[in-house]
Every structure is written in structure tokens, then in C-alpha cells.
Symmetry: C2
Subunit: 350 residues, 2 copies
């Protein structure tokens, strides 16, 4: 992203910037030249640090809350920090095994896995854990079931290769008795097993054109039912956990700021949109503060990584927190968690 702006910085400038950001991340207080010089072992006087800080402020990496206060990082400053200043790029062995241990007990519980992942992420990060649940569109279907409810209302149940279950109510043009639904189900299953939904949709259209003559009444019906059942977008679901952690952050001591953020959390559809965009990035994504398009999200940072089932891209896991976030710890956490989830889902599907 903004990575190559850093080439204009001298090594010492980089060190000072890193020191300030790290200090601010852990203290949440504007940091002054004096404490930088003292705490981070610089061999120069505070006055020198002050000059460097003034330069960094000119470059847009630091800001002052008011004239005679210390400096705090700007969103751009965090960006440079994340892209090229972070020191600890991975979890310790101990942390990894700790996460794995948390993982074990929930394995094989289907939906609960996602809930537990959010809990794990929020617990370790002391921020908000988030998971964009598997997108049914993309992953191979294992099985479909049709259950007649009442009148024209029927239930469609989809089971994916990764073991996720989705269902929706479909209203058909006519009343089809369960007997016939069973035959249709059988037929549909033979057609679509192992194929992801977005391909299934194409397939049904092709088949329909192909069999224009429609000698086979059952097939005709099955295709029609299939189109109804699989049409329309299958929206992803979002799991959040640890929102209460947010309230400990001093930047949200103001109840109104807090409130606007919680309103944003409740608008799941917007969150889905943001996470969907992260999904296309094909790797760990960081969105820092004002890089968020949505105004409500600008006090927040978001770190996400995609997870897979085999070759199927399923969704993302991530952490949401204030821009003043422990990037050095949370980035590897998210990365590792995504890998763990992928590994587990891949194993289970095979």
C-alpha cells in the first residue's frame, strides 16, 4: 500500500517513529521527546528527538492533540508501522500451542466452530473477534434436501462439503407433495453433488436450455425447483464476540463515540460488505482507521485473513479494535488462526 513512502526516512527517524508508536499503543497517552529519549535508549538529547519528531509530524506520521502535548501516531503513521516497522512478526511457540489447545474441544461441532473462533480471537486480542461465515456460493455442495412445509412453502437445506448447513424457505408456484419432492431431491443431488453453488446456477440454466424438448416431466420440475431454491444471493453471516472489550479502551471513554461504534456493529450487512472486500485480497489485510470507507468505521482498525477448505475460499476471520491496536501481536494471531481454521476444515472435508 503506502509502503514505499518509508524510503525517505532515515534509520534514526524510523527508530523514533517505532518507539513513539509502540509507546502510544501501550500507554494511550501522547508521548513526549523526553520519555522517548529516556525509555528507548537513544544516545541523543530530548532536543534532538524533538527535531526528529517535528520532521515526522511534517511528513504526516505524527500529530499533536494540542500545541504543548506529546505526539500521537496518525493513521498514516500506523500504516508505515504495520508495513515496515513492526518488530515481532510471529507468535511464540507457547502462544501457538495455547491457541491450539483452546481449539481442540470445539472441533467437529459445525457452527459452533465459528462462534468459538470469534471468542478465541477476542480473548487473545482483548478486542473484538469477527468471523465471516462460509459463503455457501463458493464451496462445493455435498447434499441438498427438500422438505414440504405447508402449501407452497418448502424448506431447502444445503449441506456443504465443509459441513456447513444452510437453509431457506422457498415458495413454489404449485403445491408439490413430499413424495414427489423426494424424487426431485434425489435427482437434484445426482446433478449437483460436489459442485459449488455458483456453478450449479449456471448448470441448471444450461440443462434447461439443453433439454428444451422436456420429455422428462420430473426433470423439468426438478430444474425449476432447483432454480428457485438456489437463486438469489446467499448472504454471508457474521459472528462477533468481545464487543464489551471495546469499552475498556480509553479512546472510547466518550459514550457517544462508543455508541456510534456499537450501532455500526449492529449493522451486520455493512460489516459483511467490508469483510467481503477483504476476501478478494487473497491474504492478510489490514484496514487502518481512515482507510475505512465508511465514516462510522474510521475510529477502528480491522485485521483479517481468509480461510479455506481445500481450494475453496470460504470466508475470513479477523479482529476489530481501535486504531491504537497491538498490531505486532494481533497480525500474527489472525494469520495463525486463519491457517488453523483452514487446516481443520480441509482435513474434515476430505
Amino acid at each position: 500500500m503506502a509502503g514505499d513512502t518509508t524510503v525517505v526516512l532515515t534509520e534514526r527517524q524510523r527508530e523514533v517513529l517505532r518507539a513513539i508508536i509502540q509507546d502510544y499503543i501501550s500507554s494511550a497517552e501522547p508521548v513526549g521527546s523526553r520519555s522517548v529519549a529516556r525509555k528507548y535508549g537513544f544516545q541523543v538529547s530530548p532536543a534532538t528527538i524533538r527535531n526528529i519528531m517535528a520532521d515526522l509530524a511534517d511528513l504526516g506520521y505524527l500529530a499533536q492533540p494540542h500545541t504543548s502535548a506529546g505526539r500521537i501516531p496518525t493513521d498514516l503513521g500506523y500504516r508505515v508501522y504495520v508495513d515496515s516497522l513492526i518488530e515481532r512478526p510471529s507468535l511464540t511457540r507457547a502462544e501457538e500451542s495455547m491457541i491450539e489447545r483452546r481449539f481442540r474441544p470445539v472441533l467437529g461441532k459445525g457452527e459452533d466452530l465459528m462462534r468459538e473462533v470469534t471468542r478465541l480471537l477476542s480473548g487473545f486480542s482483548r478486542s473484538v473477534g469477527v468471523v465471516l461465515a462460509p459463503r455457501v456460493d463458493q464451496v462445493a455442495i455435498k447434499r441438498v434436501e427438500l422438505v414440504h412445509l405447508s402449501g407452497e412453502r418448502n424448506l431447502v437445506i444445503l449441506v456443504t462439503k465443509s459441513g456447513q448447513v444452510h437453509h431457506r424457505v422457498v415458495i413454489l408456484d404449485e403445491v408439490i407433495p413430499q413424495e414427489e419432492l423426494n424424487r426431485i431431491t434425489k435427482l437434484l443431488n445426482s446433478l449437483i453433488e460436489g459442485i459449488p453453488l455458483y456453478r450449479v446456477r449456471q448448470l441448471l440454466v444450461e440443462k434447461m436450455a439443453e433439454e428444451k424438448a422436456m420429455y422428462d416431466e420430473l426433470l423439468r420440475r426438478a430444474l425449476k425447483v432447483g432454480q428457485r431454491s438456489f437463486g438469489g444471493p446467499m448472504e454471508g453471516e457474521v459472528y462477533l464476540d468481545g464487543t464489551a472489550n471495546m469499552m475498556q479502551q480509553p479512546e472510547f471513554a466518550d459514550i457517544d463515540k462508543m455508541r456510534s461504534i456499537f450501532v455500526a456493529f449492529e449493522e451486520k450487512s455493512k460489516l459483511v460488505k467490508i469483510l467481503d472486500q477483504c476476501l478478494t485480497q487473497e491474504g492478510l489485510t489490514t484496514i487502518i482507521g481512515s482507510e475505512n470507507v465508511l465514516r462510522e468505521w474510521q475510529p477502528l482498525s480491522l485485521i483479517t485473513a481468509p480461510y479455506w477448505c481445500g481450494d475453496d475460499l470460504l470466508g475470513t476471520v479477523g479482529v476489530i479494535g481501535p486504531t491504537r491496536m497491538e498490531y505486532g501481536k494481533i497480525i500474527p494471531l489472525v494469520d495463525f488462526t486463519a491457517k488453523l481454521v483452514s487446516q481443520y476444515l480441509t482435513e474434515e472435508a476430505s
Copy 2:
């Protein structure tokens, strides 16, 4: 509950108490004798009101934040108010049709119904809407499906008469191919259709004892699979919406109070327990402040009503808010919503 304590109150005491509680509910400020006398058209002087207020305080219905402030209701005061002072016991026709209109578009969408009900409740009450999702144990089963996942892992999908879908992963002792699972599914369906899960469990045990000889290998397996699949508690799910509304309440201006409440909201299992208790009450339930057993819940009040599908008790809908809650408006809202949900679910199941 504490209903008959009110008999010791004179009519004028009741009027004053009602006036104070209503005033406090809408203003959130301690209310003084002067404004009671003025705003609520009492024909006596503030001094007289003061005497009455002192009596009501002695009886435990009112309290003072500090010596020279107005009075605020105690939880006991609210209880009396709810049990015998509330004036407006029902929604207006306009409100009812407004709620019905909000309802229409989501009908027939299965799970989304519950989400929409929470949204509706929170929107109208400006508090937190809550729904305890259908308890699978109690409602008649329409259909069961078994899908083989991998190894010993199998997916059980239950569809209830009310159109709810539940699924869980079950690990069996042996690997059973899908072919045989299909036969088992058929057998199980013929056994359990139309029977609620808690009865199914008994039934399976009986059958097993009955067929001790076990000539029928398939039946033996089916019963065993059934026991695994339907055993264990099916925990209810909770939907919450509008938690951000809570932050507008002045009583939670203190961020720490706010936080402890949001932590409570995140502990869904405790919430399920509370709502489950409301379920046994067989009617509209109000839990006011300190009537809550759990410490974290004591700043909150809860109004719930059960909903049904035919004769099956499914779950509860409700509203959570601060003890200073618009009981007069929210009680009929919850009541009406529960009836609407029941009516809809009952119609759809037939």
C-alpha cells in the same frame, strides 16, 4: 408477587406514587414535591406532597439519591407500579397495525423471523429486543435427515413442524456409508414424525427394550443412531438486538456500568437460563431490577412473554431495558408481539 402490599396505600398515595414513577420514567431525574404538585394537577401544596412522599419512602417504594434531592422509585416501587398502578394497559389500534405491517415482509423466512422480531421489539421499545429461539425438545418433529460427513462424523438435521431447522454433528462408533444412512433415515422418520423430541427419546428407549431380540439389524442400528442423534440437551439460542440503544440511557453514562451489562449480554448461556425460567411462568413475566438473581442483571428489567406453535410452547420474546423502563408501553408491546408470533407460527404449521 408483591401485589397485595398495595392495599395499605390510600388512593392519594397511589396517585402520587404513580405520578412520581411516570415522571421519573420520562425524565430520568429525581422528582421533587413541587413539580409533582404542579405538573400532575394535585389540589394540595408541595408540603403535603412532601409528607406523602416521606411515607412512600418509609414503605420502601421511593428513595433519595442524597438528602436534599427529589425522590426516585425503588425496584419495589416499580413492582407496585407494574402490578397495580399502570394506566395504559394496551396498544392503540394504530400501533398494532404498525407492528403488523413491520411483520408482513419477513413472514415465511424461517430463522429470519426471529431476527426480525428482535429488531422490531428493540425498535419500538428503544431498548434491547430479545428472543429465545424455539426449543427443539418440545415441538413436534417433521423430519430428520442424516448426512455422512467424514469418518465417523455425521450430520443430523432436524426440521420441526414449526419450520425451524436444527443441526448438529454426531460422532458414531462406526463408519456408516450414506447408502445405509438413507435407510436408517427412512426408518427413523417413520418412527418419529409428529412427535416432540423429548418424547422421541423415551420412545427410542422403549423400542430398544421391546425389541430386545433384535432380529432386525437395521432397526437396531437405527435406534442406536437415533439415541446418539437426539440425546443431550438441545440448548436454546438467543437473539439480541438494539444493544446500542442501552447507551443512550443516562443511567449508564458510567462506562463501567455499561461494560458490565454488555459483558452480561455476551454470556448467552446465562441469558438462556433466565429466559427458560420465564418460559415456565405461562404468561407475561416481568423481572424488575433486583428481582434478578444474577448480580450483573440487577440494574436491568426484563419483560417477556411466551409464544406457541399450536399447543407447543416454543420460546419467549421480550425486551430488556434499565429498570427505569416504559412499562406501560412495553408490556403491551411484548404481549402483542408474542401473540402475533404465535398466531403466525400456528397458521404455518397447519
